[in-house]
Subunit: 391 residues, 2 copies
């Protein structure tokens, strides 16, 4: 186990009707907020009205900034920063999925930064402060409601990159599983893939002696595998929606990666697909992860065999660990397909003629000459992984 | 899953040499601290000197209050409160095991309370504020380094009771597994029993649909069962000590009980043994838990069968769930004995002639007419559990 420092100060309010608490939570931070959301879905499910009621009850003034799109855009972030500076905003309230939360986080650090916010994403400076961000989550997926990162797309240059900083962990997060009942199947499935990917990026490590954390990862993965098919069949099943929603937070609040080297290559390889074709984040991950696994498993067959046995109940054949490892990867692909997710470019209908450019951009956007730690992947390796994912 | 609110703001610094960071952490809170510890053990292992060096480097002034005993005493708490008030202390630094941490927490809330601190333990008032508490942990057991509770014994009345409040979560906790190398075997084992008990109090619930959290509990228990024998055989095994130490925090930072009704009867039943005979807390739990399980398992055989199968690898015989459940309890007793812990009064050499009085006091100290939630236990039930634990 490696040394670590961990601080996850986000207050969580989880359960039915918890959105009615938002006014009181906000009041701890001030009287004037930026209300940030996407399109009509929070209005359609009545969440918008409940939030407004709760804010009004506490006398909170709110300025609205809707319009966040999936793969949130720099332009809207800049607009939010402008409003925050002009209006002296006390807190940014993100109501929606991970894109809204990431956009809010970017606005928060941008409003407290002297230069242009994109410099923080280009790693030309590190964020030192933020306007507090509160969250009402409606889509379990990115884990952004408690995480220490935000991902934004520069729509002009088609660059999708992240800022990682303890500064960006939200002040509070409200999670009501009922708000996820009306999610389309594709979003539910893509969310599950995203959550699994957050665990994989931590689980597949060469750091030894991380047994407790391995078990926490495995239990979280098993929960997803059990409940994803249930929520797809019974979208209004509270118990199952609650398991998926809480799993999304546990997967990415940091606790599953403590004391180990994490990887994050697959996220970066997937980001290039989103940047190029605006593909849903979770879909890029169900495509890239099996390919990544096939490319790297030989580097640590034991870990992939453990994954197969403990997560997918593959029989533990110690004479043939490689067979066990490959069966685990096969079952993961099967699982993704069973919940309606593509595992190749072809299945997703994504063009395949720009993979050279994507591999090149993946490395150049990383700021170094490689991505990942489980195995360091150079441009040629990233290209091979795209090729393995073609069909 | 029940609704919940969760906030665990303690900053964790985990790993080798992390105690050298203490001066910097303390400096975030002020310049004058109460340095609270037990006896000579922290000096014997050189920890005391390292802490003092780090404090001096940051120009921190410290007033020492040593002398904390296991089952920390009210008298010393009152003395600490006096010092804090007179000296205008900014932070209380607890260096030691759970007793030192609990004593520091009690001092922290007592110093900010107008009346006598014991009123907070008698539930005559609730704590509203505390002097911040920092921790350097040397004994993985009570989980007090991040928990929301403190337990103190009134040595005059022999009453051992707790305060639960979000206020008492420490500001930071430093955990270096190396500081646990020199622990006597009995303390290591009693610590493991205490950690397991914190999970049991949460795991054995009648709340349904708590699957993710069940799995996190089970993984944590399996880790303890695997590594406890290793640290007893190889006390300087860093990897194994690290697993046990981190397990102690995970077991009691609250995350394993979210969304479910917790029990806590066994702790209260065990507290009466400590209050009467000053028995080590973990030892009271290895005695009481198997007896409690035998007394209550019929109330929810399925849960005890799940425990047996998932934690102790008992074969899943669905035609005979009761047999499965009982085999799980038997294996737990066997495990406790294998790490040198008593599972009865007799094995522990504890007198058995005061169990009537202990049962009476257990209920009267609870402030109601029963303890526990998995099954509500009245005085006659508590007495029966003591009887099941006699030999």
């Amino acid at each position: 186990m490696l040394n670590f420092s961990y601080h996850s100060p986000t207050k969580i309010l989880f359960g039915k009707d918890m959105e009615f608490e938002v006014g009181k939570e906000v009041a701890n931070y001030g009287k004037k907020i930026l209300l940030h959301y996407g399109g009509g879905s929070i209005k359609r499910i009545g969440l918008y009205d409940r939030v407004i009621d709760s804010l009004k009850k506490e006398g909170i003034e709110y300025i609205e900034l809707p319009g966040v799109q999936p793969n949130p855009r720099l332009k809207l972030v800049r607009k939010g920063i402008e409003i925050c500076k002009e209006e002296d905003i006390d807190l940014i309230l993100a109501v929606g999925g991970g894109s809204v939360v990431d956009s809010a986080k970017a606005i928060g650090i941008g409003a407290k930064y002297d230069g242009d916010v994109w410099e923080l994403f280009e790693k030309k400076a590190v964020p030192k402060d933020t306007i507090p961000v509160g969250v009402i989550l409606t889509l379990p997926a990115t884990g952004s409601e408690t995480s220490n990162s935000t991902v934004v797309t520069n729509e002009e240059t088609k660059v999708k990159v992240s800022v990682r900083s303890e500064i960006v962990r939200p002040a509070f997060a409200i999670l009501n599983p009922e708000t996820t009942y009306s999610l389309p199947k594709e979003q539910t499935s893509a969310g599950v893939s995203d959550i699994m990917a957050h665990i994989f990026e931590r689980y597949f490590t060469n750091t030894r002696n991380v047994d407790l954390t391995d078990r926490l990862c495995e239990g979280t993965l098993r929960t997803l595998i059990k409940y994803a098919p249930i929520v797809l069949k019974e979208p209004n099943n509270y118990a199952a929606r609650a398991e998926i929603m809480w799993t999304g937070t546990i997967a990415h609040n940091g606790i599953l990666g403590l004391g180990r080297e994490e990887d994050w290559a697959s996220h970066k390889i997937g980001h290039e697909i989103s940047a190029m074709y605006d593909t849903t984040h979770g879909v890029t991950l169900s495509i890239i992860f099996p390919a990544w696994m096939k490319y790297v498993y030989k580097n640590n067959v034991e870990r992939f065999a453990q994954f197969a046995v403990r997560v997918f109940d593959v029989e533990a054949d110690f004479n043939n660990p490689e067979v066990v490892a490959l069966e685990g990867i096969r079952r993961l692909e099967e699982f993704f397909r069973s919940i309606g997710l593509p595992t190749t470019f072809k299945e997703a209908g994504i063009p395949t003629d720009k993979i050279d450019e994507m591999a090149r951009r993946c490395i150049s956007n990383s700021g170094g000459d490689s991505v990942g730690f489980f195995v360091k992947l150079y441009e040629k390796d990233v290209l091979e992984i795209y090729k393995l994912a073609l069909e």
